[in-house]
Amino acid sequence: MTKQYDILVVGGGHAGVEAAMAAARMGMDTALVTLPGPGLGSMPCNPSIGGIGKTHLVKEVDALGGVIARVADMAAIQYRVLNQSKGPAVRALRAQCDRALYPARMHDVVTSHNGLHLVYDEVVAIITQDGRVAGVRLREQGEVVVPRVIVTAGTFMQGKLHIGTRQILGGRIDMPRSEGLSGSLAASGLKVLRFKTGTPPRLLASSIDYARMEEQPNDPDAGHFSLFGPGSDLPKRSCHITYTNQAAHKVILDDWRSLPLFSGQIQGRGPRYCPSIEDKVVRFRHKDRHQVFIEPEGIDSPIVYPNGLATSIPEELQERMVHAIRGLEDAVITRWGYAVEYDYVDPTELGHDLQSRKVPGLYLAGQVIGTTGYEEAAALGLMAGINAALAAQGRAPFVLGRDQAYIGILVDDLVTRGVTEPYRMFTSRAEFRLHLRTDNAYERLSRAGYSVGSLDTQSFLQVQSRTRRINTVVTALENTRVKPDQETNENLKRHGQPALRNVTTMKELLKRRDFDPDLLFDVFGFDGLKRLCKEEAQTLLIRVRYEGYLLRQQREIERFRRLEAVRIPSGIDYFRIPGLSTEVREKLMSRRPATLGQASRMEGITPAAVAALFVFLKNPSKSTGQVQNNC
């Protein structure tokens, strides 16, 4: 079979669906090739979306027209706000989702889009011609001619599962692995490496004693993810918290050296911040307990996910460890926990458009380039899809800066610095945290999403009217003045507020520490805030209250951009630049950073090397003059 598409996406996980949907939204004839089985965007790890740093990605994908936020809302069975007591920039929404409904809703969204063809098959090779992508070979359906391919193979490439000493070849439990694809990528010159991740045993809900655990119910005021979607209408469920103990730890510590993670059986590197329970117990022996979240897998699912117990220890030890935990004494294990080792491609092989530098037309996104998490995968998939479509249309790549979005940080970290463990987003990775908030994701990104064609017109208009509503109230706050008359001051005093001395604006009042925004209406009859919805009011309050800090951050962003604005010509000959070591030259030659800022963030590029590069860029003629002098 030979079929012509504009873009073909390999893999139907969180990266794959965003990539395919973005390309299709941008008018590309797109094929999404996936293995038959768990469905689109399934959740092999815990059934939850969002969290610190990750919510930022979800909202940004939503602002750019992606689907993860909408589908997560459709499948949400619990919402919570994390860091509620902390500042607005690190607050995050997290949803528990129904593991069966999420892929079902995703399937509806994907199949209802015109121009997107769902193909159930396995891609076994990328076909190249004259050094660039020409098509793919499918296991069942043969060759497909397509000039742009986005690989989002997740953990499937050469996947190997570990349960105790038992090793199973597979992408996940009950799923075959992808054979051949990583070999094909390596043959094209890409650097293929190995990582490890893991999952806990699954438990039968009816066998758990919830009375012995702490309940964490749904927060009805938490809101939801998407600005555009229908929201959330499913009934809500609680999570429960329990803890491991010395008895459970003893099961692991008794003979920890023989466990696959420590015996040398597992070679791939796992994430430090999402470690397996044996890793936590062995590395932090002074801690006498670790937290375990019992997450429901669905509204009516008989299964729960004990988050915090990821493991690859033998079945018998899993059983003993679980039963040592409070509330899990009689828990029935329905599936064993396991570790998975898989091939990933070194992300420094990619440009900021997520395209391979060695094989034009080849894009990679998601866990296959060394990340972890549905949200990271979705963000990368979206960007790969947009960029492949832009390239097909002969338009410039869409690259977000570190000062514009967490997505920009994600891509920049991966392609300029690479990974040494599966990469997860944190708010501490953001230099301009206060500016990159979840509440202003739409103000930051939707215009760009609309102009590349990933966000539809109606959604963009929705964002614009939201922005306008907020701006109108800000203007009103600035223009409404109050006099320090006796009545006003008595009113303020009654609400525990210091009296006014001078004429002031509503906006200045709102900036006061511990000032209840409701007082604007209750005391002064200012109804501006009442005209906004809760999320809009939140955005406005942050804008007003943190104005000083935001302005300061804006100045820092401008400073950051100055170095980012020093472009390095693509054809630059690094061997002509004095003062660079051979090692630095080779690194710059292979990665070809586009700006001095990018170069400065590359590993192994010293400040001195950046200075030498800067000297050359500012005054290349003098450097050539030196060479002539030398002759």
Partner: protein, 445 residues
């Protein structure tokens, strides 16, 4: 980091003046090759850092240039981190110039000012603070200034600020853990206490620097007092000549008059000020302002008057005060009562002046010894400004935390402090750092 710079630079390292020895330096990949062209019997592989006595000859015409000691260095074990050579000639400007010209004709390039240090920085042999220290050392005009510069060259200053940066980053890591892992039970750490410890030591360093700078530029001795107390008469007496106009009228002195004197080897800036208090003078406000400024900056304040200290005088925290009662030769003066430590003088007759002078000198000596007992870690105003900024940021972080403001705001302050220090050492590249490299080394002009 080993680097291969394309060209080899040459420059005399000593001034072109008649002297015993004149030194020329070469740095770059061809240093040895170029040197060999003028040295007839240098061994095939000269031992690095060993002196060889050589006759130097111009290779084309064969004329003898000088007999000299030559030494070579192998990259990266040299000042610049490149292959280097040094030639110790007889100190004739003619000889030094001829050998330099010959080396340039043989493929060397005349170095730009500061280029050797520039290469050392670019090759990672020293950071910006050390390079600045080299410059300060060369330009040092006193043993104290040289000691200060040597601290920088030895990397002591860099070590101090890098250690400070490290401590701030540890505190940041605690804050990040709180922000990024709200659900993990992280053992609580007293962040405020950690910050306050840093603030305390930093504030001592800043204080010490201020002190040193005050004294380094000269001990400021300010004569102040009510109008017509005889301040200008005393001033003229102390400097030994008639510098200011004296008249028996209140408000004769308007500007602050200053004169540099050297007493017992200590530089002293003596200042005469306008009288404190209201006069009929139309310029009174400006006179008072100038006087107040001078008093605030005083290291030693000589208060001329009735021996009492006026309450509304605003002196700096470092100031030492000397009470002086003038006109001791007038009968009415002695009838009053004075504090025990007041010095009685007569500025017009010169009575008691030696006593006053020795009291001033005693204070000046103490201040001077205090300042140079241990040189401050912070050297130079630029470093001072950066560290002061860091100090302010740490204080703001503490203030935000103690007001229960979100932790992310204190992280902003601490992150900015880390960046400030990084830019000071040059470890963190920014446009500011690059422009400092430009300023320092005359690159690209």
């Amino acid at each position: 980091m080993r680097t291969s710079t394309n060209d080899t630079i040459v420059a005399p390292a000593t001034p072109l003046q008649v002297s015993a020895i004149g030194v020329i330096r070469l740095s770059g990949p061809d240093s040895l090759a170029i040197l060999r062209r003028i040295c007839s019997d240098l061994p095939e592989r000269p031992v690095a850092r060993r002196m060889y006595l050589q006759w130097l000859r111009e290779p084309h015409r064969g004329e003898t240039l000088d007999q000299a000691q030559v030494v070579t260095y192998k990259a990266p074990h040299s000042y610049t981190g490149e292959d280097m050579a040094e030639i110790f000639l007889h100190g004739s400007p003619v000889v030094v110039r001829r050998v330099t010209d010959t080396l340039i004709a043989l493929g060397g390039r005349y170095a730009r000012p500061g280029e050797f240090s520039e290469r050392a920085v670019l090759n990672g042999k020293m950071d910006l603070i050390q390079a600045e220290g080299v410059n300060d050392l060369i330009e040092a005009v006193s043993p104290q200034a040289a000691n200060q510069a040597l601290l920088a060259v030895a990397g002591k200053i860099s070590q101090y600020v890098v250690a400070l940066q490290d401590k701030i980053m540890n505190i940041l890591a605690e804050l990040y853990a709180i922000l990024d892992f709200p659900e993990d039970d992280i053992e609580p750490v007293d962040i405020t206490a950690g910050l306050e410890r840093l603030i305390r030591t930093l504030s001592q360093e800043l204080e010490r620097f201020r002190h040193t700078m005050l004294v380094k530029n000269g001990v400021q001795v300010v004569i102040a007092g009510p109008p017509n107390a005889g301040k200008s008469t005393l001033f003229n007496r102390l400097i030994g000549h008639k510098r200011t106009i004296i008249a028996d009228l209140p408000g004769t002195t308007r500007d602050v008059i200053e004169e540099r004197v050297m007493w017992g080897g200590i530089p002293i800036i003596l200042k005469d000020t306008g009288g404190i208090g209201v006069t009929e003078d139309v310029l009174n406000d400006q006179v008072q302002q100038a006087t107040n400024d001078a008093i605030r900056a005083a290291d030693i304040l000589v208060l001329l008057g009735d021996g009492r200290y006026p309450e509304d005088i605003d002196v700096g925290p470092q100031a030492r005060k000397i009470m002086v009662v003038n006109k001791a030769d007038l009968p009415g003066t002695l009838a009053q009562s004075f504090p025990d430590d007041a010095i009685l003088i007569s500025a017009s007759s010169g009575q008691g002046l030696e006593h006053l002078k020795s009291r001033i000198l005693k204070h000046a000596n103490e201040l001077y010894n205090l300042a140079f007992h241990r040189p401050p870690i912070i050297a130079g105003y630029r470093q001072y400004e950066v560290m002061l900024r860091v100090y302010d940021r740490l204080n703001r972080a503490v203030e935000l935390l103690s007001h229960g403001e979100p932790e992310e705001l204190s992280t902003l302050e601490l992150e900015a402090a880390v960046t400030d220090i990084g830019e000071l050492t040059g470890a963190q590249i920014s446009e500011e750092v690059l422009s400092r490299i430009f300023d320092r080394f005359c690159i690209g002009k």
